[in-house]
């Protein structure tokens, strides 16, 4: 949704190893990854991020027992195959960057125009939780082995900035230092 106009998207192609897409309404070219407009009538606009999560089907059902799920029979079933996030698909982009393995999983966070990536392995090294400040906003980034998933939140609750610790890792239970809330 841009400026009140509802857009519907199509896959275009890979540009430097990153998927691009176009909207049928204006023909603007966008990136999948961060919703940036590359060219076209809506150049300068950016798609708004909405929170979503990659986790296992089991963990997602635990979190959202009332969840719905896509109907498998779309007519394209023959194309479906078991996908593991982070596994190489053979045509990886090469950016000559050896700091992390290709396709290393990370949690990307944007806050007030600032961007930061939190690789899973670094969050795990730090105990599965990082209290940080990004774009002048206090945030907390979690990673949990349950569902190999992670999320980021604002640390500001009811105008109070909290600092979090892991309480029970296997149950994804956390505690904040300031109020002791679990």
């Amino acid at each position: 949704m841009i400026n009140g106009q509802l857009l519907n998207f199509e896959v275009v192609s890979l540009i430097d190893g990153v998927f691009s897409m176009t909207d049928r309404e204006t023909g603007t070219l966008w990136t999948h990854f961060d919703g940036v407009s590359l060219s076209g009538p809506l150049l300068g606009e950016r798609l708004k991020f909405l929170p979503m999560q990659i986790t296992t089907w089991e963990e997602w059902q635990r979190l959202y027992p009332h969840t719905t799920v896509l109907e498998w029979s779309t007519g394209f079933q023959s194309q479906y195959r078991a996908i593991t996030p982070g596994a190489s698909v053979g045509n990886d982009a090469d950016f000559n960057d050896t700091r992390l393995p290709v396709n290393a999983l990370m949690i990307g966070v944007e806050s007030n125009g600032q961007f930061k990536s939190y690789p899973h392995q670094l969050i795990v090294r730090d105990g599965g939780i990082i209290n940080d400040t990004l774009g002048n906003a206090p945030i907390v980034v979690f990673h949990t082995p349950v569902g190999n998933s992670g999320l980021a939140y604002s640390r500001v609750v009811a105008e109070q900035t909290l600092t979090f610790q892991v309480e029970i890792a296997s149950l994804n239970v956390y505690i904040d230092d300031e109020t002791g809330t679990l």
Partner: protein, 239 residues
């Protein structure tokens, strides 16, 4: 003595004929310039007229089929849009008079060549602070100019045509992959989920206004895009 007036006569004839030729040339160039400036002002007026006409939502999609001959130009224009182009430069009259119709190579900036047709479109499009209405106008303009361009005097158009540089994707941006997006895909409750979705299968999880939906990666790796509505909100789910 008798030959002198003869020479003078011949010289006079020569001068007169040269004068006539010059006059004809001036007239011709004058006409050419006149038509050119007429066209420039005509084209300059077009976008304004187009913008004044209220266009229904989604003009790009509906008006695409019209004017197939000029479609490449029309669809190339929005792709060409660059933020570097300042919104005030491409006044058609400023660009047009300099290049003569027959010498496109004289133009130092060939990308400016389709001047009256596309820059109006690209500048409107390039304005980053465009409101929703001006965004709609931006989409309307390329199509509108594509329709009006062929009806204008055909002679100046050759200056615009040599410009297009070979580009990998002529025509409208279309899907260049095998991947077909999902549009408002069917979904089921978790009890009725396909047995193809295992407990340890990964899903993209979306929760919106009390509604939750899982997009199995095993499916999304292929579609890459789902245009969907969750919790009453339009969601673009990509992988």
């Amino acid at each position: 003595m008798g030959s002198k007036p003869q020479i003078n006569k011949n010289t006079k004839r020569l001068i007169i004929s040269i004068g006539l030729i010059a006059l004809v040339l001036i007239t011709i160039t004058g006409c050419a310039q006149a038509t050119e400036s007429e066209l420039a002002s005509a084209v300059a007026n077009q976008p304004a007229a187009v913008e004044a006409t209220p266009k229904p939502a989604g003009p790009a999609a509906t008006s695409k089929p019209s004017g197939p001959t000029s479609d490449p130009d029309a669809t190339l224009a929005p792709i060409e849009a660059r933020p570097t182009r300042s919104p005030n430069d491409p006044t058609p009259t400023a660009v047009r008079p300099t290049p003569t119709p027959s010498s496109p190579s004289n133009n130092p900036t060939p990308t400016e060549n389709p001047a009256p047709v596309s820059p109006t479109a690209t500048t409107t499009a390039a304005a980053p602070n465009a409101t929703s209405t001006s965004a709609l106008q931006a989409t309307a303009v390329p199509n509108a100019t594509s329709v009006t361009a062929p009806t204008a005097t055909p002679t100046p158009l050759p200056t615009a045509i040599p410009m297009p540089t070979p580009r990998p994707t002529p025509g409208p941006i279309t899907r260049q992959t095998q991947f077909v997006p999902l549009d408002e895909p069917a979904y089921v409750t978790r009890e009725n989920a396909s047995t193809n979705i295992k407990n340890d299968s990964y899903v993209l999880g979306v929760a919106s206004n009390g509604e939750a939906r899982a997009y199995p990666l095993d499916m999304m790796w292929y579609h890459h895009i789902a245009n969907d509505t969750v919790g009453g909100e339009p969601w673009l789910v990509t992988y």
